[in-house]
């Protein structure tokens, strides 16, 4: 950060006034108001009553997405018009880096919850250690194993048997998604997911080398493969969820195992979807717009960082959610 050449400090481009921020805010606020109302209708509302929550949500989302589209289009056009100084480009790099860092911390919260539950809460509920005194009083007979195949509530006879500390029925799954049988390892979806995602990180890197060499054909080809692999991952993930819900009885209501499983893999899947969309847009920019050169391709580079980031998160998920 100490390189201070004079070209870096050429007159800085401060953008014209812009409607983007206000439009994005309108879209965002409508979306969250709509989303919150949808959930309230679901939980507290009268099922027969018609509400406009979904309409508000979709109007907001449409507005928000349209604004983001316009925003990125503006940024891309400014770059192509040569308005971005070396210094501004560095600001975009820093922005993307710290954005990814904030995403890391978001996953950190859910991983932290997983570790806390697995290493401390589970044993305590089963009567171990200083936190274990409540086992006799509230959850007699509960034994802790991970994945948790019997919730404390079930151990004492279901939701009606224990009215304290109780906010719903938690019905545990009949089968966990952990690695079970080495003989039929090829049936184990998470392994295929891992292979697909790791490969996609590699293909993304090959695409990056392509654009660095100025080879658009190579870039387009390998980026297409990356996006397809991303879509395959999402399909596999969908299959796994379907299997979990329909065959294994593993649902969001299945106690803490289901909660942590779906929240971690679900948010990861959502991030894969976002990363895939980002890469797809870069692909379209290259194929249709003939954009990106060997020296100027930050839109792709930022998306590829994001892609590698979701890949790393998956490695941790694979380790701590499926294997260990």
């Amino acid at each position: 950060m100490t390189s201070q050449t004079s070209t870096e400090y050429e007159k800085y481009y401060v953008p014209e006034k812009s409607r983007l921020a206000v439009c994005a805010t309108i879209g965002l606020i409508l979306s969250i108001y709509g989303a919150a109302s949808i959930m309230n209708d679901m939980t507290f509302g009268d099922p027969g009553e018609a509400t406009s929550s979904w309409t508000i949500f979709w109007v907001g989302m449409f507005f928000f997405m349209a604004t983001l589209f316009a925003w990125f289009r503006t940024a891309i056009r400014e770059n192509i018009a040569g308005m971005n100084s070396a210094q501004l480009k560095k600001s975009y790099v820093l922005g993307m880096f710290w954005f990814i860092f904030s995403e890391v911390m978001f996953f950190f919260a859910f991983f932290g919850a997983l570790f806390y539950v697995r290493n401390l809460v589970g044993p305590w509920l089963a009567g171990e250690g200083e936190g274990g005194r409540m086992n006799d009083l509230l959850w007699p007979g509960f034994e802790y194993v991970w994945p948790m195949m019997q919730t404390p509530q079930e151990a004492v006879g279901g939701a009606s048997a224990q009215l304290m500390a109780n906010n719903g029925a938690f019905v545990s799954p009949n089968t966990s998604l952990s690695f079970a049988d080495a003989a039929v390892w090829w049936h184990w979806l998470p392994m295929w997911n891992t292979l697909v995602l790791l490969t996609s990180s590699l293909t993304c890197h090959i695409a990056h080398m392509g654009i660095l060499a100025g080879d658009r054909k190579k870039f387009n080809l390998w980026l297409t493969i990356t996006v397809v692999l991303g879509i395959i991952f999402l399909c596999l993930q969908y299959m796994e969820y379907h299997e979990a819900y329909v065959e294994y009885g593993l649902t969001l209501n299945a106690g803490i195992y289901g909660s942590t499983f779906f929240m971690l893999t679900g948010f990861h899947g959502f991030h894969v979807f976002m990363g895939m969309t980002m890469l797809l847009i870069q692909l379209l920019r290259s194929v249709i717009g003939k954009q990106f050169t060997a020296t100027d391709h930050f839109g792709f580079e930022a998306s590829s960082w994001y892609w590698h980031f979701v890949d790393v998160v998956w490695v941790f998920l694979f380790l701590f959610v499926y294997i260990l």
Partner: protein, 526 residues
């Protein structure tokens, strides 16, 4: 490049569509002042109810909504945005940058705030009322017993986090990338340093808060059991996740305040800041320690003894870098040519009262003693000494210090000093007695209390009304300054002040440092 070099646009569109750091800073500052008044109104309702024992004015549910919203509005609406506003105004001026690094995003960070707080405040009029689980919204109060308003509150927290993260990324990019040639890290004014570290803390912990409220949302609406032991989760998990955010959050609030005071005390002591380097390292140490002390908020929750001990010793460690800071401020004043203009009065007020708040913090850090103090008014007194006399006093000092630079007019010094003395007396009258009632066992967040606490509570309420009323004087002084204050045009408003912001004309023109300034090594801070 079009008309943006000429000056601000006319009318409302100037504010809605602006990309100018000074406009955005101004909007942040006015918005936070509005929230300060709103949160203050909630506090006045609380103190009015507590004026006498017995139920006087409001229902207990409404009282809980008031304590909840008072905390949320003051923390997320008043204090945090006020310092972001200050950062917007001052960081580019202090490091010789033409604007913030990402100006359009900067505007978005601001404009998310007003509609979000409108939505949050509107929960007061919803069925079941506003959230009432306290500003810390512990599960299961905020999950099993949540009303519909909690859902809106959760989404509000999400977008406030978005705003904070974007604002912080902007500040990090500005400080790392936009410094004028020669402005090395160790020459940056301390306000810039404290904000750089604060921004890092924000990017690190706001996503964790987002995670916490997302788990709440799932527990309320989608049947997960993060915070429910019946499904294998744990309500205490909420407290861990919340305070992993919450403890760095209190430093997010106080570190920029440290920065402000580190600018003002040297200016009115006419001496350079004592121990600049150690100030930087102390700030970084405090930020690091803030990540490993969170469970000192939950000593009584039933942690293993090893946990209590770890968090107790780690917490006590914070007193060391904080002590370094207090020592340095006092040493800066030692044998200085002191004058006591309003910004200096508020800074000295900060120094004395924040130190008291720091000492009560040290008392609270001792796990076995905390079993007595926990959730009592002693805690309320402690954190108001650091939040109000710490953050708000320093923010007040900052406004008096830089207002002449912002608007080119001098405030009324007599009125400013009057504001200080009324605030100082009102504040101490409000919160000092709360130490006593807390130690004697009065619990916080309860609308009624035992008769033996009556006298001290009445004093507290009178003090609160005095403190609240004195802010009207402040508002009047600010408006009177902007409209009809005595004009000044010398760049250096205060003769002892150092820094690049005092080299630009007064009032600061719409665009400053379009080409970077030369940094005079003699003006270096180290």
């Amino acid at each position: 490049m079009g008309d943006h070099h000429h000056g601000p646009a006319k009318g409302l569109s100037r504010w809605l569509f602006t990309t100018n750091h000074k406009d955005i800073g101004t909007m942040y500052l006015w918005f936070s002042f509005c929230m300060f008044i709103l949160g203050g109104t909630f506090a006045m309702i609380i103190r009015a109810e507590l004026f006498q024992p017995g139920m006087q004015l409001v229902e207990p549910e409404f009282f809980n909504q008031m304590t909840t919203l008072h905390g949320l509005v003051m923390v997320f609406g008043a204090i945090m945005p006020s310092f972001v506003g200050l950062a917007n105004w001052m960081i580019p001026l202090m490091i010789g940058a033409p604007d913030m690094a990402l100006p359009r995003m900067n505007n978005w960070s601001f404009w998310i705030l007003p509609p979000t707080f409108l939505l949050l405040a509107s929960t007061l009029f919803m069925e079941g009322g506003a959230p009432q689980a306290g500003w810390t919204f512990y599960a299961p109060l905020s999950t099993t017993y949540a009303g519909p308003s909690v859902t809106y509150f959760i989404f509000c927290i999400h977008v406030l986090g978005l705003s904070s993260i974007m604002g912080s990324i902007n500040i990090i990019a500005t400080v790392m990338n936009m410094r004028a040639p020669g402005m090395t890290y160790m020459k940056m004014p301390l306000f810039v340093w404290t904000w750089l570290i604060t921004a890092f803390l924000l990017v690190a912990v706001m996503p964790v808060l987002a995670g916490a409220v997302t788990m709440m949302l799932m527990d309320v609406h989608f049947g997960t059991s993060f915070f429910s032991a019946a499904g294998g989760g744990d309500p205490v998990l909420f407290q861990h996740v919340f305070w992993f955010f919450g403890h760095p959050e209190v430093y997010i609030i106080i570190l920029p305040a440290f920065g402000v005071v580190s600018q003002i005390i040297p200016a009115f002591s006419r001496k350079p800041l004592f121990g600049y380097d150690s100030m930087v390292y102390a700030t970084a140490s405090i930020a690091f320690l803030s990540f490993i002390v969170w469970a000192h908020h939950m000593y009584t929750v039933g942690m293993p003894v090893s946990g209590e001990l770890f968090f107790m010793y780690a917490t006590m460690l914070i007193a060391v870098p904080t002590g370094v800071k207090v020592f340095n401020w006092v040493s800066t004043m030692w044998r200085g040519a002191l004058t006591f203009e309003t910004p200096m009065l508020f800074s000295i007020g900060f120094l004395v009262l924040f130190t008291i708040g720091g000492f009560t913090g040290l008392m609270l850090s001792i796990a076995p003693s905390d079993f007595q103090y926990h959730d009592s008014y002693f805690v309320v007194a402690h954190f108001h000494y650091v939040m109000v006399a710490g953050a708000v006093f320093s923010m007040t000092a900052a406004v008096y210090y830089w207002l002449p630079k912002w608007c080119g007019r001098m405030y009324n010094e007599t009125m400013g000093k009057t504001h200080f003395w009324i605030s100082f007396i009102g504040f101490n009258l409000t919160f000092f007695p709360q130490h006593f009632v807390g130690l004697a066992g009065m619990p916080r967040r309860i609308p009624d209390y035992a008769l033996q606490f009556a006298d001290f509570n009445m004093m507290s309420s009178i003090g609160a009304f005095i403190y609240g009323a004195s802010q009207i004087l402040w508002l009047y002084n600010i408006i009177a300054t902007i409209v009809a204050g005595e004009k000044i045009d010398k760049p250096k408003v205060w003769d002892g002040a150092e820094g690049l912001e005092w080299t630009v004309p007064t009032p600061a023109p719409y665009h400053t440092f379009e080409t970077p300034p030369k940094i005079d090594p003699a003006h270096a801070h180290s």
